[in-house]
Amino acid sequence: MARSDPSSSPASHDQLRRTLIRCLAVGFGSLILAALATAWLTKRSREHAASVTHTYEVEGAIAALRIPIWRSEAARRGYMITPNPAVLDVYRDASGQLMPTLDRLAALTRDNMRQRPRTARLRALLTQLEAIRAASIRMVGDGTVSEASRAESIDASVPILLEINRVARAMVAEEQRLLAIRAAREAQSLYAFYVALTVAGVFLIIVVVLTVVTLTRYTNDLRASRDQLRALADSLEDTVQERTADLSRANHEIQRFAYIVSHDLRAPLVNVLGFTSELEAATQVLARFVDRVEAEAPVLVTRDAVAAARDDLPEAISFIRSSTQKMDRLINAILKLSREGRRVITPEPLDLAAIVADIRATLHHHIDAIGARIDVNGPLPAIASDRLAIEQILSNLIENAVKYLDQGRPGRVVVRGRRTNDHVALEIADNGRGIDPRDHQRIFDLFRRSGVQDQPGEGIGLAHVRALVHRLGGRIEVDSRLGQGATFRLFLPTTLTEPRNPRS
């Protein structure tokens, strides 16, 4: 199967994060740019609108100035031709509006350095016009006006009026020029706004595209690794099953091997033991014969013959016998272990307290004799396991504890138990002679023992215990120091669910 470099996935994850953060930053930047551009443009638009309004106001003010000028002029001329007081009232009304209207215009154009001299000029011209008009009207009112001078007085205002017109037109032209400049600027800012908006939009589109592409790629990667993981998990399960089958097959083969070997070793042993006995019987016959010869014909007896019949042969035979008997015990131990391994285990609910009580009952006489005690501390947890195996394990451990007590102090063996998750932990603690930490592994090996060899045994018990504990799916450990007692801890599954049948 295709396997991606395992180091690539965290790296690509980091890269993805960086890319996404960059995209987000650029996206936010673009949005801020667009917002700033909009705000700026809004401000500029408002300014532009204000300037346009201003221009129209100025134009309006100029137009408003012309009306009273011409109205008052018309009224003056009419009065000069036919001096009617009503006409004079119209004149006074119109010319009274002149200066306030000019003030308003001056106020509007005060900020413009070009317009200010013009308004001043207008003020001067209007004052001049006023003076001429007032003089001509006074003349009419006095009746001192002649026909010739009347016409002259009437037309005296014309050059001033023309000049006023010119100045007013110049002012309008100036305002139009300003408006044109402002409109151009407005167009420019609009253009800038569109550029900014376009840039922001392009960035946003790029960000979106990048994000989508990155996420899609990442999602695809994720999907690929998920599929790969699933495939791996499947194959792992297969591998585990395969290995388990291999292991149980190997275990079965070892058991079978141990059984056959130990079994076949017994056949020659029968011969050795059998003929040793025959030899012993024959030796006795010989010894009796030597005795008789010694008694009846001492000359025939040699010292060698006597030694051979009485000492050498019996000694050799006794060594052969004790060695062979030991060998027989060892072979039987292996046979027992292998038979235990082949036994079908059947889990059932067990009362551990009752089992310990039974073991204590069988040891009753012995512990009374040596003044020892076996106590159970607190209630023991419930367990479902193989009765025979548990009984063997506990009785071996408790018997060992009693066997290797310290002569110097009253022996005490304590059995404790507790439940942890799906396991039962059992402790068999004693205050006996303890085990050297160097031997903690060795004591579980077949035929290996620790400490002073002052007790009978072949080094089989703990090997047997460990084999049984493993068979029950548990483990065993020891905690001990020389002279300070030993604690054996058992961890067994609360419920033995899957009895492994090596024969299957």
Binding site: R266, V270, N271, L273, F275, E278
Partner: protein, 148 residues
């Protein structure tokens, strides 16, 4: 009692030492019947079925059978004997080191008459064989009538 003396004992045992020890202890029990010894299955079967002196053709016999033989399993020999019309009444004593329960049951299922596990401890072994000898001295073995 006379007829007992005509019963020959066929011992099928590959281990010479075991054979010798068995014979010695049977003799010590006072059994004087002929003992014919075979160390492999093929020659034993040849004697049982085809030899003019063999039990199929000549007189009653008793078979002492070891299960671990070099060329075949003693169980095959037992099955052959018990399947044969003439020989199936011949008592078969299985005398072997195997003490596997399944094996023992199989032998009885096939018609084995007595199953004895050889004790490794010689005293027990000698005792067992002598008791077997006593047993042999009192059992009645059916006459084999050769088919004409």
């Amino acid at each position: 009692m006379n007829s007992h003396h005509t019963v020959s004992i066929v011992m099928i045992e590959d281990d010479e030492g075991h054979a010798r020890l068995i014979e010695k202890n049977i003799r010590r029990a006072g059994i004087l019947n002929d003992i014919t010894h075979f160390t492999d299955g093929t020659s034993a079967l040849g004697f049982l079925f085809n030899s003019p002196d063999g039990p199929a053709l000549n007189g009653p016999a008793l078979v002492l059978l070891d299960l671990n033989l070099p060329d075949m399993s003693g169980i095959d020999i037992l099955a052959r004997i018990k399947a044969d019309e003439t020989l199936r009444r011949t008592p078969v004593v299985v005398l072997t080191t195997t003490d596997d329960k399944v094996e023992i049951q199989r032998c009885y299922d096939l018609g084995c008459n007595v199953y004895i596990t050889k004790p490794v401890d010689y005293e027990s072994f000698a005792q067992a064989i002598r008791q077997l000898g006593l047993f042999l001295s009192v059992i009645q073995v059916p006459e084999v009538e050769p088919e004409s």
